[in-house]
């Protein structure tokens, strides 16, 4: 089973870092490497029941690459939309991103909103509640992640994988509801473990 997942969001919100954390379990510290165009990777994940083959489209956030990104939206089964909790404008742009997604992506694409860099408590400018509120408004599941600490990173990808797997196996009955439920359940438990 091959899952095509695309990471989108403003430049510098940590899309590549999130992917590297998920793939290699490491954090890309040091200088900021900006992705050029689209970066295509094929990580795989071995779960208790099966081997998941991902095809990850790590996109560049810069405006000048939008046209390439648009061309590959429709191939994606799932989209991870990221903003940076320490950067207000990346949060404000989420609405624009959602408009773009509705325009170019498939109707039934699995979408998840992630507030990244949740470890940076001091620099935080976007409250968790704001993220939750926005997600509710648009009916998308939401969680805060941190590529640095690893918080919720695997969960985000797993949730998507589960959802896509579920869909491919049966006729979908209220898929969104299930994803929300799963995310909320898992996030609480992982929250307990972390604290």
């Amino acid at each position: 089973l091959s899952l095509q997942v695309m990471l989108v969001g403003d430049s510098g919100v940590g899309k590549t870092c999130l992917l590297v954390r998920f793939k290699d379990g490491a954090f890309l510290a040091g200088s900021f490497i900006s992705t050029v165009g689209i970066d295509f990777r094929r990580p795989h994940l071995l779960t208790s029941s099966s081997l998941l083959l991902f095809q990850m489209w790590d996109t560049a956030g810069q405006e000048r690459f939008r046209s390439v990104t648009h061309a590959y939206y429709r191939d994606a089964h799932a989209l991870l939309l990221l903003y940076d909790v320490t950067n207000k404008s990346s949060f404000d742009n989420i609405q624009a991103w959602l408009t773009e997604i509705h325009e170019y992506a498939q109707q039934d694409v699995v979408l998840m909103l992630l507030g990244n860099k949740a470890d940076a408590t001091h620099e935080r400018v976007v409250k968790r509640e704001d993220g939750e509120k926005l997600a509710k408004e648009f009916g998308v599941p939401f969680m805060e992640t941190s590529a640095k600490s690893g918080l919720n990173v695997e969960l985000a990808f797993m949730a998507i994988a589960k959802e896509l797997k579920h869909r491919s196996m049966k006729t979908p009955n209220e898929p969104k509801f299930r994803l929300h439920e799963y995310v909320n359940k898992e996030m609480k438990s992982s929250g307990c473990c972390k604290s």
Binding site: I33, S34, V36, R41, A60, Q62, E63, F65, S67, V68
Partner: protein, 548 residues
């Protein structure tokens, strides 16, 4: 010490004549090439068609000089009376300075006159020089001011787009002044080209809708500096295309271009660093990994076989050296475009892990359209990077498949291992040539657009020394290609090394000798070196470039 190169010119011509057999075809690829060989038969020349657009390293600028020659004369005639006082004062000052530099001796006909002309032309714009200088002083620290070379890019509205050092915000007023200078001179239907001050040059390059400015304390000529600015300009065009660039500023004159260029600053930074270090940028040429012909042939044919409908170029690189290049029939790559690709790959680590897919404009090929490049490393531990360039935005999976077909073929024919082994020694020591006094050289075959150069000897391994040697090559290159007074050869005696630069219709070479080397030795070395390169040419160059 008078190094009168012109005496030896006679020598060569005679030798050349006596060596040329009646049947000219015979010596076309002679084993003992002489400097008199014609283009296309020099060591390193491709046997069939070359893979690059044929270029002179100065094409952009000579074109420009021609454009502006009339303008210059106009200035000289109309402004001379007004500025005559300052002019004579300044030009004598400049002349004096040039003479002081003469630890080296070069002779070219009319050199002095030439210099005088240049200073005249540049000083015509001098009425604005004091303010430009002071403003830079005012803004920041000494450390910033003392940088060897500053490069600024601004829009016609005077908005900062790029600065090599320091933040653009802090420099917005400086850039405003730069724009004021440009438009002040343009108001009189004229063009500001450079300002020459005490130990530094300010060079302007006007490429509407952008203005590029270089402030340098190097010995590079005005021409060389504006060539570097050209590179920066093309770098920006390669990200946006000229069409988009024009549209943006037509729509909104005071647009902040940094928004669109976000994340690309390191491309300019790296490009400027390369320009200071890499002789390829100077010569409009690229260098190849030394590789056995059989191995290179397998690689090339594997690239050839992995073709696709929209594929235009397949390029395999090892670091900033070329391994192989296959192109669509009748489509040629310009060395400058390849340099931009090298720069893109060299300055982004993001291609290391996955497969990159990015739009890129190759400005020399077509400044108004995007190609789409599939960029990936063959394996994560080596520097082998494959670039596949297609005309279609939708081609990602198709090119990804090409890459796999290419790799499979390499493995099947055992070429991959051979290639990796060859990469263990990507350079060669200069000792192989067998001339003890020869420290380093750069040889470019003009018809193939390829150059070869040994590794730097220990003396030049430190960054500063490397840049100093490159500075000398740059200086000689600037002198020999001076558009108003081109020379054929220069012998340059310095305190720490002697250099010989030689340009013919077939090749261009720069040799660096120990300070104990003599001119006679240098002259003899040329023949010996040409002979050596001929012997090694199938390893050092790509002699039979292929198309799909």
């Amino acid at each position: 010490m008078a190094a009168d190169v012109h005496n030896s010119k006679v020598n060569w011509d005679i030798q050349n004549e006596s060596l040329a057999p009646i049947d000219k075809l015979r010596i076309e690829r002679s084993d003992s090439p002489t400097p008199g060989i014609v283009e296309g038969t020099e060591p390193g020349a491709a046997q069939e068609k070359a893979m690059f657009v044929h270029t002179q390293s100065f094409e952009d600028l000579t074109a420009e000089t021609r454009d502006t020659v009339d303008g210059d004369q106009e200035v000289e005639s109309c402004d001379l009376t007004k500025l005559s006082n300052d002019l004579s004062q300044l030009s004598t000052h400049l002349l004096g300075q040039e003479e002081e530099q003469g630890e080296a001796e070069e002779k070219g006909e009319d050199q002095k006159v030439e210099m005088f002309d240049e200073s005249l032309a540049s000083v015509t714009s001098q009425d604005s020089s004091p303010c430009g200088r002071e403003d830079i002083c005012d803004i920041t620290s000494d450390a910033w001011r003392n940088q060897r070379k500053h490069v600024f890019v601004l829009s016609e509205a005077g908005k900062p787009i790029y600065s090599r050092y320091g933040t653009e915000e802090a420099l917005s007023s400086t850039m405003g002044v730069m724009m004021a200078l440009v438009s002040f001179v343009e108001a009189d239907k004229n063009m500001i080209k450079s300002i020459h001050g005490d130990g530094y040059k300010v060079v302007f390059l006007r490429k509407s809708p952008l203005v590029l400015v270089s402030v340098a304390r190097t010995r590079q000529s005005e021409q060389e500096l504006s060539r570097e600015l050209c590179y920066i300009y093309y770098q920006i065009v390669s990200l946006l295309t000229i069409t988009q660039l024009n549209q943006i500023f037509e729509r909104k004159q005071n647009y902040d271009l940094r928004r669109l260029l976000a994340g690309s600053e390191h491309l300019n930074d790296n490009l400027l660093k390369q320009l200071d270090r890499d002789p390829g940028f100077l010569l409009s040429a690229v260098t190849c990994v030394p590789l056995a012909v059989s191995t290179r042939d397998i690689i090339t044919s594997s690239l050839q076989a992995a073709k696709a409908k929209n594929l235009v170029f397949s390029i395999l690189l090892a670091g900033n050296q070329l391994v192989s290049l296959v192109r669509k029939k009748d489509q040629y790559l310009h060395p400058m475009d390849l340099h931009l690709l090298l720069n893109l790959v060299g300055s982004s680590s993001s291609f290391r892990e996955g497969e990159g897919w990015t739009p890129i404009c190759l400005p020399k090929f077509n400044p108004s359209g995007f190609f789409h490049a599939h960029i990936s490393y063959l394996d994560s531990s080596s520097d082998l990077c494959l670039i596949l360039i297609s005309t279609s935005r939708e081609d990602f999976f198709c090119l990804s498949d090409c890459k796999h077909r290419f790799l499979e073929r390499l493995w099947r024919r055992n070429a991959f291992q051979n290639l990796l082994e060859a990469l263990q020694t990507p350079t060669y020591p200069v000792d192989l040539v067998g001339i003890p006094e020869l420290r380093h050289f750069v040889y470019k075959s003009k018809s193939s657009g390829l150059y070869t150069s040994p590794e730097l000897p220990p003396t030049y391994l430190v960054d500063e020394e490397q840049e100093r040697l490159m500075g000398l090559y740059q200086y000689l290159h600037g002198r020999i290609h001076n558009s108003r007074n081109p020379l054929r050869y220069i012998y340059h005696c310095g305190q720490r090394e002697n250099l010989l630069a030689w340009v013919t219709s077939g090749f261009e070479m720069y040799l660096c000798f120990s300070p104990l080397g003599t001119k006679v030795l240098a002259m003899n070395t040329v023949t010996k070196l040409l002979k050596w390169i001929r012997k090694e040419e199938d390893r050092l160059f790509i002699l039979s470039p292929q198309t799909y």
